[in-house]
């Protein structure tokens, strides 16, 4: 039983490491800020959660604090990424010109009109 848990934990740690690396690679390779945000948040959140859970499976008596760390990462990291994306858009950073879809523009205009009136 313990050996199976160890194998699963090691596999989770390896997957987590690969995803952390992919997140950092996406941070370098992606063309503009929003795609970089997406790569750097999704991949690295999954990677960190997976690594931490893998360590929790290797040591079953640590599982409480490990679960708290996983929940904190899962709440906090998307929150900071959301705040960054919103702030950059409001500040006037234009998305990558090859995708012409920009649905957020209308909502921002409406909100600004509501604020000023």
């Amino acid at each position: 039983m313990m050996e199976i848990l160890e194998y699963i934990g090691m596999a989770l740690i390896l997957i987590g490491g690969i995803f952390l690396f992919l997140g950092a690679l996406g941070l370098v390779r992606m063309p503009d800020l929003y795609t970089r945000l997406q790569a750097g948040t999704k991949a690295s959140t999954l990677g960190a959660m997976s690594t931490v859970l893998g360590v929790g499976l290797l040591h079953p008596d640590w599982i409480l604090k490990i679960l708290i760390i996983v929940i904190f990462i899962g709440v906090a990291n998307p929150l900071s990424s959301h705040a960054l994306a919103r702030a950059s858009y409001r500040k006037g950073v234009i998305p990558f010109s090859k995708n012409n879809i920009d649905k957020y523009k209308k909502a921002v205009k409406k909100q600004i009109k509501n604020l000023t009136s």
Binding site: A24, G40, V55, L79, A83, V93
Partner: protein
């Protein structure tokens, strides 16, 4: 088992170098804040993994506090960029 840990630590180190590259190069403040965020999350994972290497339960506490506090600075930077602070 040790070879997997070596591979994972190497990947994390390469990730740190890549996000440092983005931090130095990134044209806007959003890119740099994103690099800071990625930095702190990679280091959180590395700390939990090092607690496993050192076999000390107490060391998980540091990673716990890291996971909480790493994002507060990024949120404050984001609110400042927005001009809302």
């Amino acid at each position: 088992m040790t070879i997997i840990l070596t591979i994972v630590f190497t990947l994390m180190a390469i990730g740190l170098i890549l996000s440092m590259f983005r931090f130095v190069k990134g044209p806007r403040s959003g890119d740099r804040a994103m690099a800071l965020d990625t930095f702190s999350i990679i280091i959180t994972a590395a700390m939990v993994l090092l607690a496993h290497v050192f076999e000390r339960y107490i060391y998980v506490d540091v990673a716990l506090i890291y996971a909480v506090l790493g994002f507060v600075g990024v949120i404050v930077i984001a609110r400042y960029i927005e001009g809302a602070l």
